[in-house]
């Protein structure tokens, strides 16, 4: 039952609740799911202010939208929030269920230290105030995948409050202009994950997996629209959005629907809706889930969660028994915004490129390793990684750590290019070859395929001469002032040299010959 979840509440512009749910289930096993959701999570938050600027169709009154998100994210921990059972991705159903997870009578929750530390760290990263005392509550509802009939959460006094997340949005035609926005974080709370219901429509059965929900991000969006300067509109809640793409689409369509309803003289009901990704719009949920009275009550089996800082640490306290916020702060890694800033400063990288580098798991490390081993310009490296390397990964649906091309190989290739040993088109050929034939170095490929540039000036001179003689009409066109004719000649020379000649050198020779 207790995959540790962090639940955060954030308000974009005016009111998002960002809840980060501390799900415990699979640690790093979720590479693919995490990667995509992590990336989009950020961008979806970023989009909200843009959406809020939407105007009405009639153009009379501007509409503003307010979006609040309740974000449930699973904590990367080895065991569940309140039990010792393991958290593991794709484990067989109900194979990781302790007596507590199954809510056997008489079992009691025991808080997982690792989850608390993760929550504190998340709170620090999101600039929250960490509550040195927080409480656990029971939230009651009957559902087949909630075996205790309640969920343990932190409703009244959560572990972290009042934070903010700054994020950047790319705008403009080429999305090259970057503006900074801030989402306010209302609170972060530790919450037990429910189980997973699998509905078998055919047999009209529901199967329950108490390993707990697979650990992807889950978001509930609260949405309302109003005219600026007027009171906020009635909100609806769109529940269970499990990818950032759907989240963005759901918010867009719900805002559109609300504006449409209001402009046609109808009312917005305070209701719970779900997003139908096939229809691309939100629809009211049939059950009464949104209208329930959860009958919150303090969880009597968990004493208040007390945290300390170095100043308040009781003397002689057992480090295994207490959690020191300052120690966790020291362990906080460099945050993505700082890393991006660093990339822009150090390598002259475009801000939008710094986003791409960071959004892909492992790509930053790959980039840094290439930089370490190559003399090529950082801009060149960035361009190669974002255009060629990432393109290949996407095409083959691979993660960075699954790439057949190592940072060293790419660095070597860029070195060859940098000292003009090969042309850039040859470099691309080598790169493709690297992708196919694992184990070969770029130099081996260059020599096998005879891709090195012709360094012999006289030989190249001869080839140029021969080409000009074979194509007198092109030479003539050039002499008449057709600027494109020289490109044709360059192409022909390259073809004759099997692409082993540097086009700039060819151009120089041709120009020299034509002007003489």
């Amino acid at each position: 039952m207790a995959a540790p979840m962090l639940r955060g509440c954030c308000l974009a512009r005016r009111g998002a609740l960002a809840c980060i749910d501390g799900g415990s289930r699979h640690g790093r096993g979720a590479a693919i799911g995490c990667r995509s959701s992590g990336k989009r999570g950020r961008s979806s938050v970023a989009q909200q202010p843009l959406i809020t600027a939407q105007k009405s169709g009639k153009g009379e009154h501007a509409w503003a939208a307010v979006v609040g998100l309740e974000i449930h994210a699973q904590i990367s921990s080895n065991s569940k929030l309140f039990s010792g059972s393991q958290v593991q991705f794709a484990a067989p159903p109900n194979s990781l269920v302790s007596f507590f997870d199954a809510s056997l009578p008489g079992t009691l929750p025991v808080l997982n230290r690792r989850c608390v530390e993760a929550a504190v760290m998340t709170g620090l990263a999101l600039k929250c105030h960490i509550n040195k005392k927080s409480l656990f509550d029971r939230k009651h509802y009957f559902y087949a995948d909630l075996p205790a009939g309640y969920q343990i959460t932190q409703q009244r006094l959560p572990i972290a409050v009042n934070g903010s997340l700054e994020y950047s949005v790319c705008v403009g035609k080429k999305r090259s202009q970057v503006i900074t926005r801030t989402a306010r974080i209302k609170q972060i709370q530790l919450e037990q994950d429910s189980g997973k219901s699998l509905h078998d429509e055919l047999r009209s059965q529901t199967l329950i997996d108490l390993n707990r929900a697979e650990g992807q991000l889950r978001v509930d969006a609260n949405i309302s629209v109003h005219h600026p300067g007027e009171p906020l509109g009635v909100r609806t809640e769109v529940k269970n959005l499990n990818s950032a793409r759907f989240l963005a689409r759901a918010i867009d369509s719900e805002i559109e629907r609300q504006i449409n309803e209001l402009e046609n003289g109808r009312e917005i009901l305070n209701e719970t809706r779900s997003f139908d990704c096939k229809l691309g719009c939100t629809i009211p949920m049939r059950d009464k889930e949104g209208k329930q009275d959860y009958r919150f009550m303090p969880e009597p089996n968990l004493p208040p969660l007390l945290l300390y800082d170095t100043a308040s640490l009781p003397p002689g306290a057992d480090p295994q028994q207490v959690i020191n916020i300052d120690r966790i702060r020291e362990q906080l890694p460099e945050l993505p915004s700082e890393t991006r800033e660093q990339l822009v400063q150090q390598y002259g990288m475009l801000p939008e490129h710094s986003f791409t580098i960071l959004n892909e798991v492992g790509l930053l490390e790959f980039f840094q390793n290439v930089i370490k081993e190559t003399r090529a310009e950082p801009k060149k490296v960035t361009s190669w990684i974002l255009n060629n390397f990432l393109g290949f990964l996407k095409q083959q649906n691979l993660a960075v750590n699954e790439s057949p091309v190592t940072p060293s190989a790419l660095a070597e290739l860029l070195n060859l290019l940098d000292r003009k040993a090969i042309s850039s088109s040859a470099a691309k050929q080598v790169f493709e070859e690297l992708w196919r034939s694992k184990g070969k170095t770029p130099s081996q490929i260059v020599s096998e395929k005879q891709l090195e540039l012709m360094q012999d000036g006289e030989a190249l001179n001869q080839v140029c001469l021969a080409v000009m003689e074979e194509h007198p009409q092109v030479v003539l066109a050039m002499k008449r002032g057709n600027p494109r004719a020289i490109n044709k000649l360059i192409g022909l020379v390259r073809k004759a040299t099997l692409s082993r000649a540097d086009p700039t050198v060819i151009k120089e020779i041709l120009e020299k010959k034509l002007s003489s």
Binding site: F99, A102, S103, L104, P105, G106, T107, L108, P109, V110, L111, R138, H140, F142, A144, P147, A148, G149, Y150, T206, I208, D293, R295, F296, M297, P300, N301, L302, P303, Q321
Partner: protein, 526 residues
């Protein structure tokens, strides 16, 4: 042998006067003879004999595990026992066999104790009579005692004697009856509002409720998590201390247990009480208190005073709000705790399958009795968003005031409080059921539940027989985590009063051998 105390029989085992198997068989045979009392829901005969056999092997090798090795014990049927049905006397859990042992059960077994069976109770421990369980009421063994029969002969004459039996009190009535009839040497009860102390008082045994947090609740099927404590029922205070020594201490599976390690201890025998200060809460002198109990209470106070103790009247000003406050907090937690019994995973499930909701509703209607359903309903009412502030929050504040009353009294120099345990001695079943469970609980928990709200240790010690020949208990309340001090005072008191042993010969004339040590037992109260 069976009439002895735990400590005595433990010595007898060590000296080889009796073997664990012989002891176990004697208890089993007595359990059968007293079956009509309905003290046990499940008698775990096979398990017990096997455990006794293993214990016997240890004794033979000279590797006894300690004072509890080979000692027959009983456990209230709301503690999880691995492989043994655990019902809470409810249809809801009939047939439920837990896959694990409650921590307290495990600790007893680890000490070599022999589990005789699971004892009867009110459904989910909700009641004060042990009359409201699905397996029927527990009969108080004193109903059949020579002492009671002699006193009531003239009255009972002509009536159907069998319908005149008395209740045990509750909700741990099965455990109290099991200890009182010598079918075990100690029993676990649970105590949420007095459920261990109340039946102990009515059955003439010692009923001890430890400080909240001293003993693990893991595996105890909860009534009110913030007040539940495993209780200990024994035939003398020393025995309760032995068992407490085995059970107390931190349990990683119960986050509300104390962190500090607790060592087993032996109670000192007080010879001088002149340094003691005994508080008598004036609010406990209620009009409903029977004159007989009141008089025994006064005598007890006088006893302390005459032996040199300082006895003072104290005030616990919020006492009168306690029972109402208890009702709100108890039912709220009950509503929450009972939510897991939905028929899906374990326990009773109805036949209705039109929808999950319909299945839940019918399962819970069939599985719970009126008392449980009533409390769930009240509790959910108090927890509704619109009522939460007015009921639950207010009750929590009152709870704090009640706890502070005790703190203030103890801070003023009082060592222990002395109060009645119950308003009067046990009443006949027919009398008892004239009022409903709620009314009875409110009356019967009057002197006991405030202690649970404050988390304090308290013990009921049998003091004397009433004019009717029935036991009356008095309660000592101690400072939080001063359980040992509390028991030390109780032990001194117990020695002074020399409470008599139940005389059940008439009831079980064919097992008179069991009771020939009657004299021994009374001697051994010291």
């Amino acid at each position: 042998m069976l009439g002895r105390t735990l400590r005595e029989v433990s010595a007898a085992l060590k000296q080889g006067q009796i073997t664990p198997t012989e002891l176990c068989q004697k208890c089993l045979s007595l359990i059968k003879k007293t079956k009509f009392l309905n003290a046990y829901i499940t008698v775990s005969e096979e398990v017990a004999l096997k455990q006794a056999e293993e214990s016997e092997k240890r004794y033979k090798k000279g590797h006894s595990l300690g004072d509890l090795d080979g000692i027959p014990i009983a456990v209230k049927d709301n503690f999880s026992t691995s492989g043994i049905e655990t019902t809470c006397a409810s249809n809801m859990l009939k047939g439920y066999v837990p896959p694990y042992n409650a921590t307290v059960v495990q600790k007893l077994l680890d000490q070599g104790a022999v589990l005789m069976g699971k004892t009867n109770l009110d459904e989910f421990a909700m009641g004060s009579g042990s009359t409201d369980g699905v397996f029927g009421p527990v009969k108080n063994p004193w109903s059949y005692s020579k002492q009671y029969r002699e006193k009531t002969k003239h009255k009972a004459h002509g009536e159907n004697e069998d319908s005149n039996w008395l209740i045990t009190g509750g909700s741990s009535g099965g455990s109290a009856a099991a200890v009182a009839t010598f079918t075990c040497f100690a029993a676990l009860g649970s105590d949420t509002g007095g459920s261990t102390r109340n039946p102990a008082a009515h059955c003439g045994v010692v009923g001890f409720k430890p400080s909240y947090g001293l003993v693990s609740r893991h595996g105890l099927i909860p009534l009110v998590n913030s007040m539940d404590v495993p209780g200990i029922l024994t035939r003398c205070v020393d025995d309760a201390a032995i068992v407490l020594g085995m059970l107390a201490g931190h349990d990683p599976k119960d986050s509300t247990t104390v962190q500090d390690p607790v060592k087993p201890f032996t109670l000192p025998s007080l010879t001088d009480v002149s340094k003691l200060c005994i508080g008598i809460p004036k609010e406990y002198l209620t009009p409903e208190l029977s004159s007989e109990v009141q008089s025994l209470w006064s005598k007890a106070a006088n006893l302390f005073e005459s032996e040199g103790a300082k006895v003072i009247e104290v005030s616990l000003p919020h006492t009168s709000y306690s029972i109402v406050c208890y009702h709100v907090l108890c039912t709220s937690e009950v509503a929450s705790n009972m939510a897991r019994f939905d028929g899906l995973e374990y326990g009773h499930r109805c036949d209705i399958d039109v929808s999950t909701e319909a299945m839940y509703a019918a399962t819970r209607r069939e599985g719970f009795n009126d008392v449980v359903r009533g409390r769930i309903l009240s509790g959910n009412f108090f927890l509704l968003k619109e009522n939460y502030e007015n009921y639950f929050i207010k009750a929590q504040k009152v709870r704090r005031l009640i706890a502070n009353d005790f703190v203030n009294v103890f801070n003023s120099g009082v060592d222990v409080l002395l109060t009645p345990t119950t308003l009067r001695e046990a009443v006949p079943y027919q009398e008892f059921i004239k009022e409903d469970n709620r009314t009875r609980s409110a009356q019967d928990d009057i002197f006991t539940q405030a202690v649970n709200m404050a988390g304090l240790p308290a013990v009921s010690v049998p003091v004397a027989l009433s004019n009717q020949g029935l036991p009356v208990g008095l309660q000592f309340i101690g400072r939080a985590f001063h359980d040992q001090q509390l028991l030390t005072v109780a032990k001194w008191f117990e020695k002074q009063v020399q409470f008599p042993v139940t005389q059940l010969q008439e009831l079980m004339d064919d097992c008179s051998s069991v009771f020939e040590i009657e004299k021994l037992a009374s001697v051994n109260f010291c």
